[in-house]
Symmetry: C2
Subunit: 184 residues, 2 copies
């Protein structure tokens, strides 16, 4: 057996993270976060978004890197296909969040994960986006998610964990979005 740090499970330093959780329990205002993105339109389907700063644990923070994303559309949707479609970004967000949430919860419960893969498929009818049919919504009509997890823990545990995923919560339950538009 290789020597491994016994408090590291699924790469997570569980002792340190449990300490963080304990601090939030004592001081719940530390739980308030604000995450932000800025977007700049370039042309047609091409626009760029960036995540730099965020608010967490009572103070403004900066990421180690500026995370930059380029959105696009395939040629069939009049784009140059130089960036993922925003609805693919949504699936990517969902995938990252469900995966991380499962890995952290398993680690906190002492369950080791050897491998975890997942696929996401969303069905969308362009009649909604294009305003061609009132009874067709613009967004996905449903999303199918399939996980394959190599772990000694049973699937029922993971079924519980993913419900704590913030993106799963938002996508499956909705969130109020307030939009202000200023023209000049």
């Amino acid at each position: 057996m290789a020597t491994t740090d016994p408090k590291q499970i699924n790469g997570l330093d569980t002792l340190a993270f449990k300490k963080t959780i304990g601090e939030i329990k004592k001081n719940p205002e530390l739980a308030q976060c604000k995450f932000r993105v800025r977007n700049q339109w370039v042309t047609c389907d091409d626009n760029r978004s960036e995540a730099q700063g965020f608010y967490a644990a009572g103070a403004e923070r900066k990421h180690e890197h500026d995370f930059k994303f380029r959105a696009g559309e395939p040629a069939l949707l009049a784009g140059k296909d130089e960036g993922a479609n925003p609805v693919e970004f949504l699936l990517s967000a969902l995938s990252g969040c469900m995966t991380t949430t499962i890995a952290y919860y398993a680690a906190l419960n002492g369950e080791k994960i050897e491998k975890m893969e997942s696929t996401y498929e969303g069905e969308l009818n362009l009649q909604g986006l294009l305003g061609l049919a009132e009874n067709v919504r613009p967004g996905y009509q449903k999303i199918q998610v399939n996980f394959k997890i190599n772990s000694s823990a049973p699937a029922e545990h993971f079924e519980k964990y993913y419900h704590f995923s913030p993106v799963y919560d938002v996508v499956s339950k909705s969130v109020p979005v307030d939009v202000k538009i200023e023209t000049y």
Copy 2:
């Protein structure tokens, strides 16, 4: 005045796109799309997602590039901060989709946009994600979006257009997400 292609508005070839819309009207089954992402967990907060193929206009398609994304968490959330947080990916998805939808709808209505910038801020309380308070949801509690658009068109037009954004529709109204987990 520089010579510009009169059918190009906001970078969109509006004549070609109106032809696409006409084809969908005649043949509504062309409107069915499936978008997909695959995710591979690496360790702790680190996981990678990828968008390659999709279904559109009656056939399987491939993007010009494989679009790859790395998810992460900041150090405060026990991560290495080598990728954007999945909840930032969600804001990025929302930003790309609202921006593209506005640019396309404006173009189809003959409205030129000179510049378009927007910011997205989501409030999140970690007590929900960590299961510390039953009355606190894991996901964003609200999202504030602010657009600044340089255009001769009035803000009211843009207020109508963004409601056709698929990601805005999903995030503000929810979507059924079916999750299957297989362990081995």
